[in-house]
Subunit: 179 residues, 2 copies
Amino acid sequence: MSSHPHSFSRFCMHCGQRLTTAVPEGDTKRRLVCFDCGFVHYINPRPVAGVIPVREDGHVLLVRRAIEPREGAWVFPGGFMDLGETAEEAARRETQEEANLEVGELNLLGVYTRPGPGVVVIVYEAPALSEPSPGAECSEVGWFASDRIPWGELAFDSTQAALRDWALRRGIQVPELPV
Amino acid sequence: MSSHPHSFSRFCMHCGQRLTTAVPEGDTKRRLVCFDCGFVHYINPRPVAGVIPVREDGHVLLVRRAIEPREGAWVFPGGFMDLGETAEEAARRETQEEANLEVGELNLLGVYTRPGPGVVVIVYEAPALSEPSPGAECSEVGWFASDRIPWGELAFDSTQAALRDWALRRGIQVPELPV
């Protein structure tokens, strides 16, 4: 079962009639289909873009979530991409919105899928260029030395996996973590 | 204007009533909103996963598209991610479906956004492990030496950008191309 919002779709968004499920011609899986207008309602995972901002002394910036899910946990800035923007633009916008922080050149770190909620997290690393402060949906910002990352208080498995890759790329020891 | 299929949404997929547009509380942009059930219909870009398969001699595998858009053009195997699978699983599945090809370890090459249709293309490089043949939606498969890539006959700007990054990473000269 998925918690993706479109998993709960019942009506055709084009004509408003009730959806049913069927395997469309040329497809191999059951999809939500409208027998009135013919629209096949594919459910796509949703891309999220985020940034691990790094200060000159090697500390990384995390923000404390002020909203559910995982209120109170630490995460790097990131959020859902909007239509019309690139992954890089979304990553910068979210870093500005959540941490009031400008970052320099983005360096792709990895792509982390969370199959349950149907989210694909695209993560960049970038140098921090300004002083951060808590923005929308955050209660606190914090700089963490690479050996002080709060591994037990991170928001998502994708947060843990990306920070782990970031640390390993720099040759930094990371604790054994449940995946 | 976007050609994303959800740009044409007119009805709420949860309750079937007509959608309208409004700026939801805490948001800054106009969204499709249902005043009957309160659902906010965010339109997300759709993630695609693909692989540039590489043979031992350094040739890359491309497939010729047998469907629109860009029928007849060359592209590396790839397609829309399904809900419940990871980006890596989607990339392997599409390579199997389109080129009947198994590939080895996936190495993330880049992420390329196509803002017009609202598509985010996640591209891996991987060693080819079997002999390919044309699969679903393809008319032909071809191995191309790095200096024989058909730059003028590639399907999408993301195809060109990913192959360009792949070539540059290997220190291979690429022609000046319109972006």
